[in-house]
């Protein structure tokens, strides 16, 4: 009888990192649970490139090269809802990162994945919309 080997793909649970969580990856990785894999969306890459162009980070953080980058889910209604919720819950007149938050938040909600973020307004909005949020202190 021949031996038959079966390859089983084990899907590791994924967690989305917000842009600030990539920048503070040393803090963010402590919020990853055993076997979880951190992923980022193309919006995060765009925001990091923006910060590089403005001289706020020297280059893309090394950790980016090791993270899986996923396409953004384009769901305009969810994007609008996320932005609206952030504006509703925030005291700020000018909320930074609203456009990117709408896109990243849509991925969190549509893919039903947890997110790690240090943005309190964003975290509050996503939690209010039913997402699992792990907050950077």
């Amino acid at each position: 009888m021949n031996n038959v080997s079966v390859a089983v793909e084990i899907k590791k649970p994924k967690v989305i990192l917000d842009t600030n969580a990539v920048i503070r990856y040393n803090d963010a990785k402590s919020l990853l649970q055993f076997s979880e894999v951190a992923i980022i969306t193309k919006t995060v890459i765009a925001e990091l490139n923006w910060l590089v162009s403005k001289g706020r980070i020297k280059a893309l953080p090394h950790i980016v090269a090791t993270l899986e980058v996923v396409e953004d889910i384009v769901e305009i209604h969810t994007q609008i809802n996320v932005r609206s919720k952030i504006k509703t819950l925030s005291r700020k007149l000018n909320v930074p990162g609203l456009l990117g938050d709408g896109r990243i938040g849509t991925n969190v909600l549509e893919l039903k994945l947890p997110i790690i973020t240090g943005d309190r307004d964003f975290a509050n909005a996503l939690e209010a919309m039913g997402a699992i949020v792990r907050r950077l202190k």
Partner: protein, 189 residues
């Protein structure tokens, strides 16, 4: 012994520090401090203590009845002397106003006790505050890079790491920067 923590004046109403209770008025710029043991109270005004964010970080020096207060997104380090009933600005932090085009959540603040003193570590730099006797800045360092992250305190140095895996330290005694080094190698300190 210092008590370090954070307090959100938007969702919580009463900050307890030893025998003191601090609350804010509805206008967000007047505060009332009450010493419950002595049944004594005073008001202090700080119009920019609670600006965009209502999250305050504090370090309470109980014997001296002094509180270091910093808004999570604010530029001023305040000293509230409960004994002398006054609030003053100790130093300013190198903080940018992040606008619409920037990603959110770029502010970061941590207070770390070092013996009897306090380190203020934030996204734009680091400040060493001496708390003995009169509170003063021993040294400070400012930078523009958001991915320069505090790592640990070891060998009398405050260790930092960048997004490019470079490591370096600031000497606690005088703030001298010990040169950048690659991860995995240790330079002579």
């Amino acid at each position: 012994m210092m008590e370090i923590g954070s307090f959100d004046f938007l969702t919580q109403s009463l900050l307890r520090l030893g025998s003191w209770k601090i609350t804010r008025a509805a206008n967000f710029d007047t505060f009332v401090a009450v010493d419950v043991n002595r049944n004594f109270q005073f008001n202090f005004k700080a119009s920019d203590l609670l600006t965009d964010s209502c999250l305050l970080y504090y370090a309470f020096d109980a014997p001296g009845e002094r509180v270091v207060l910093i808004n999570a997104e604010g530029s001023c380090v305040y000293l509230l002397s409960l004994e002398e009933q006054c609030l003053k600005i100790v130093t300013n932090l190198n903080r940018s106003r992040f606008d619409f085009y920037n990603p959110g959540g770029l502010y970061h603040l941590a207070l770390v006790q070092v013996d009897e003193d306090l380190l203020v570590i934030y996204e734009g730099g680091i400040v060493y505050l001496e708390l003995k006797d009169r509170l003063k800045v021993r040294w400070s360092y400012q930078h523009q890079y958001l991915d320069w992250a505090f790592d640990k305190i070891e060998d009398g140095l405050v260790w930092y790491q960048s997004g490019q895996d470079e490591r370096w330290g600031y000497r606690l005694a005088d703030g001298k920067c010990i040169q950048l080094q690659q991860l995995g190698t240790r330079s002579n300190v």
